[in-house]
Symmetry: none
Subunit: 421 residues, 2 copies
């Protein structure tokens, strides 16, 4: 049987709840989306729970699940994703942290955080990061450190038998002293010794890092300019880096992704090994150049077995509690599919779904399921004729979960292996 291409389109945060000003409809139900409705009518639909019913997913955990990685196994905190995102290339067994450049002051022998973002520093953080990167710590641990955007940075601790079960040094509010780093597992736990070792390494890194940064010429200059010095690295969100099989290897596919925002570039590009499709017009906002995105995907098409696209605009409108803008974002998704019809109209398995719901009334992600449609040869059409949260509830795919998506798509694409004989 011929293997089929897979075209996986995520309308970020597209799921919503009834909106009173739309007569109880959701933005997606209220939007005129002829291409999506045609796809629903010719395909099979359902409601998908990104993690499990009622569980609210982040962008990171949702995308992990949708791409076939159990988030309870592969998501160990923000640190590993941040470290991959900035290009630190964390390895399995490392422990990685999200960091801020912060301003601290010594008071009565303790270090008090006076500005968690060092005046939202934007310049010369690369020089500061370089001064910490490669630091050799006791116990054979090495620290890798790299700046990200503005006050953000990432830290990797590399050494034998480390653990992600450690608390944050970041006190998460200003005017407080740096917190000691403590194991988050009990003393009898098999991970306790590794957590102790990791706490010691992290505290040493912060202490020495603070001394180095405090004396750094960049900070002398900031003080002279009346700016708060970025004189302390402030780690949080530590997590053990798991062994992550690259997406293409895991599923036996040549895969590329067109994503608009940094988090997903880091997750898919650096962490999961997707080839990233360049598209300068893809802004991640309502003003994104959807035509340029369609052209970029078309150019990449022939070299790939699976192309992944994330359109960010619906999520932003949900976060902003802007139903009108969310309707406009749904139209953008519909237009993208109309512009790529030559790619999916024959022989391709096309899936369209949200990564999670971002209801306007919430202004943030929620645990409501997302509408899912799959269209292509071999698919058993159901009676659903519209793509929205209400219609898809009666769809033939029922209520699968995020981690079911890749098996479902690989099945339709004839790219599965048999379990048993």
């Amino acid at each position: 049987m011929d293997k089929r291409k897979i075209f996986l389109v995520i309308a970020d945060g597209i799921g919503d709840r009834p909106v009173a000003s739309l007569g109880g409809r959701t933005p997606l139900a209220a939007a005129a989306t002829p291409t999506l409705d045609r796809l629903a009518a010719g395909g099979i639909t359902g409601l998908l729970d990104p993690i499990a019913p009622g569980v609210c997913a982040g962008s990171d955990t949702a995308h992990l699940a949708l791409l076939g990685y159990d988030p309870y196994r592969y998501y160990t905190g923000r640190g590993p994703l941040e470290a991959a995102g900035v290009g630190l290339a964390p390895r399995a067994g490392d422990v990685a942290f999200r960091c801020n450049f912060a301003t601290v002051q010594e008071r009565d022998g303790a270090l008090v955080v006076t500005d968690r973002r060092a005046g939202r520093i934007t310049e010369r953080t690369a020089e500061l990061a370089a001064a910490l990167d490669g630091m050799k710590l006791s116990g054979g641990v090495t620290a890798l450190f790299k700046e990200s955007v503005a006050h953000r940075a990432a830290l990797v601790l590399r050494g034998d038998r480390l653990s992600g079960a450690v608390s944050d040094v970041d006190p998460h509010s200003e005017g407080e002293t740096l917190h000691p780093c403590r194991p988050t597992v009990a003393e009898g736990d098999p991970e306790y010794a590794a957590a102790r070792r990791t706490c010691a390494a992290l505290e040493e890194f912060v202490r020495r890092g603070r001394e180095i940064l405090d004396a750094h010429p960049v900070n002398d200059e900031r003080r002279r300019a009346g700016l708060p010095p970025a004189n302390c690295p402030l780690p949080r969100g530590g997590g053990l880096v798991p062994h992550i099989p690259p997406f293409g290897e895991l599923h036996g596919l040549r895969a590329a992704a067109l994503v608009e925002v940094g988090l997903l570039k880091g997750l898919l590009g650096n962490y999961l090994g997707f080839d990233l499709i360049e598209c300068p017009g893809a802004t991640g906002g309502a003003d994104t150049d959807i035509g340029a995105m369609a052209r970029a995907v078309t150019r990449a098409w022939d070299a790939c077995d699976l192309i992944f696209v994330n359109i960010k605009a619906p999520d932003l409108a949900g976060h902003d509690d802007a139903p009108g803008e969310k309707i406009a974002a749904c139209l953008l998704v519909d237009r993208f599919l109309a512009l790529t019809e030559t790619l999916w109209h024959a022989g391709t398995i096309l899936a369209v779904l949200g990564d999670h719901s971002t209801p306007c009334e919430v202004g943030d992600h929620s645990g409501d399921p997302v509408p899912l449609l799959v269209h292509g040869p071999g698919v058993r059409p159901d009676a659903v004729e519209a793509y929205d949260e209400f219609a898809c509830a009666a769809g033939g795919l029922g209520h699968p979960r995020g981690t079911d998506l890749m098996p479902i798509l690989l099945n339709f694409a004839n790219r599965y292996t048999k379990f048993g004989a």
Copy 2:
């Protein structure tokens, strides 16, 4: 509340995908199946994923799941099932292998496989097998060996602390040397030592087995007749035999099965402890004597709490990409149910489903879900009035998984136990 009998009928591989020559219908949807449709109208339906959404099941893993055995726990490879199938009665802790009788030649001190099936040998393999059966190996391991049909055989290694995590000696292609047997777990793994021990026993068995077979009178005779000697046992598919509670014990039932093919006779009869119902007219093909099958079930009825039947014909038609034959096979299933109406028309819980889909367009199993109907007293009827892949998608049972089936049936049969108080 009275306990009810359960009549579990598997239409093997009946699920399909839309077939263009049938106007986009599936063979089951295109077939005129009045009895099945009447059962669907009076019962409750759904789509069942034998393993999980999108996951393609083998006959073995699917039947394990449908009978209440988690295949991820109880399916450890082909070896244990093959060994049970030939009557070696493997025990928990044994490691079992599928074997071929093969022809090998010594070249430059290495053993090269020149024919993996020893000229598709059909005769006197029992004599060859007897020469290997009961071999005492180093480390207190005993080898049990028995021929199956033609060039096939099975091997059981019995001893302390063995492991199924070992690679195949069978190179899987001709002209190659025998492969060394190696642990498939890493050196730090807790199972590594047991795997090493098992590799050593397996290699000794192959080496000595080859010497014994090469010198065996049966092979002298084959050489004189110009036939390739069956001079080497070639093991593959090793798996640790799990502790399998017999089906009747597991569910508290007197259970019998009428199945047509060897794999299922071995699985249900030898491995799961079903009483097998004899039916010489059951051929496993389109020419099976469905009337004889109905009579055989009727005779066995009174002595059983659960009767399991597998009708193989739909699967064969799917493998052959023969939609017309698959329609005929659906009619066979319908006729079987019409002929057994006196058994299920009152007081019985009847379930009809596929074990997996075998779509004509694929010519093999796929991960598409199968239509499920349950009929009998106490069942809440849904609005579905036909038994096929499209109609059952809207059924009241939703989308259960294979391992959900037995709890669902035991519930309707009032044969459940309460979890909690």
